[in-house]
């Protein structure tokens, strides 16, 4: 119950952050990626702002044995840079440049009730499930 409430507040702050920062406007995303054209570097500040704050969270977490409302920190310790990671990131990046949405801003933009956003989120969900199907068909 408490953790559900925390997640709601965390989601709310995240959604506000995405919307205020401009991440929910696909033309700004495409402008940020359009380095060789009409480049709009402003979104680099979103990452700087986010990392500038969140960097300290891990420094604090290091000195704690457990989170406030859970038994352990569920943070991966995987350090291997493999093809799966890089190919996946590349496919994601291509899609990001094509449509101008990444998952968080797309979900947040559903409140606009714009049909295009619903189509994006639906298509993204199909892509997510297709991964499972693809994995199974390979094995």
């Amino acid at each position: 119950m408490k953790r559900g409430l925390v997640a709601l507040v965390v989601g709310l702050l995240f959604g506000m952050g995405l919307t205020i920062s401009g991440m929910t406007q696909p033309q700004k995303i495409i402008g940020f990626l359009d380095v060789f054209g009409n480049w709009d570097p402003s979104l680099a500040f979103v990452m700087m702002g986010a990392i500038g704050v969140h960097f300290f969270a891990y420094r604090i977490a290091k000195h704690q044995t457990s989170p406030l409302l859970a038994d352990t920190f569920l943070v991966t310790s995987n350090k291997e840079i493999d093809n799966k990671l890089l190919v996946g990131a590349a496919i994601f990046g291509i899609g990001w440049g094509i449509a101008g949405y990444c998952p968080g801003p797309a979900i947040t933009s559903l409140v606009s009730l714009n049909s295009e956003v619903f189509i994006f989120v639906l298509s993204m969900s199909v892509g997510m499930f297709f991964y499972d199907f693809w994995l199974k068909s390979r094995n």
């Binding site: 709601l8 406007q25 033309q27 996946g88 590349a90």
Partner: protein, 140 residues
């Protein structure tokens, strides 16, 4: 400073604060593609908080939209086909690559994870190439 830049910095700060609360209180990484897939395909005892997070995203967007002019208007000029193809690739790619802009770009880089740094450089690089080729070849 330009309004777009201060908004970007302020919004980014809120994103960082949000991820910090989830980590220090619940011990979780705020990776939205992963959290969202856990809502689409629930695992026992690991569903409720994910749903609450997604509802929170929607509420957050709703509240913020009152303070902003047209925050959700898509002026990208991309046709519907692009939205469909882009959506599919974003969904498949974030699962294959274990994360998106939030999980790798914000959380992973904040903890200096080599995997996330490599993934972030790759998806930003691929995004730049994608936008370049689309404007040169297809002309969208």
């Amino acid at each position: 400073m330009d309004q777009a830049w201060t908004n970007a910095l302020l919004g980014g700060g809120l994103i960082g604060l949000s991820a910090t609360i989830l980590l220090l209180v619940s011990g979780r990484v705020t990776g939205i593609s992963g959290i969202f897939f856990g809502v689409l395909k629930p695992v026992k005892n690991d569903f409720h908080w994910r749903l609450m997070f997604v509802l929170g995203l929607l509420f957050g967007g709703f509240i913020a939209s009152f303070f902003l002019d047209s925050p959700f208007i898509n002026l990208s000029g991309r046709p519907l086909t692009a939205v469909v193809i882009g959506g599919f690739l974003v969904g498949f790619g974030t699962r294959l690559g274990s994360g998106c802009t939030s999980g790798h770009g914000v959380c992973g880089i904040s903890r200096l994870s080599p995997r996330s740094i490599a993934a972030t450089l790759t998806f930003i690089g691929a995004g730049i190439v994608s936008v370049y080729l689309i404007s040169k070849i297809i002309g969208w």
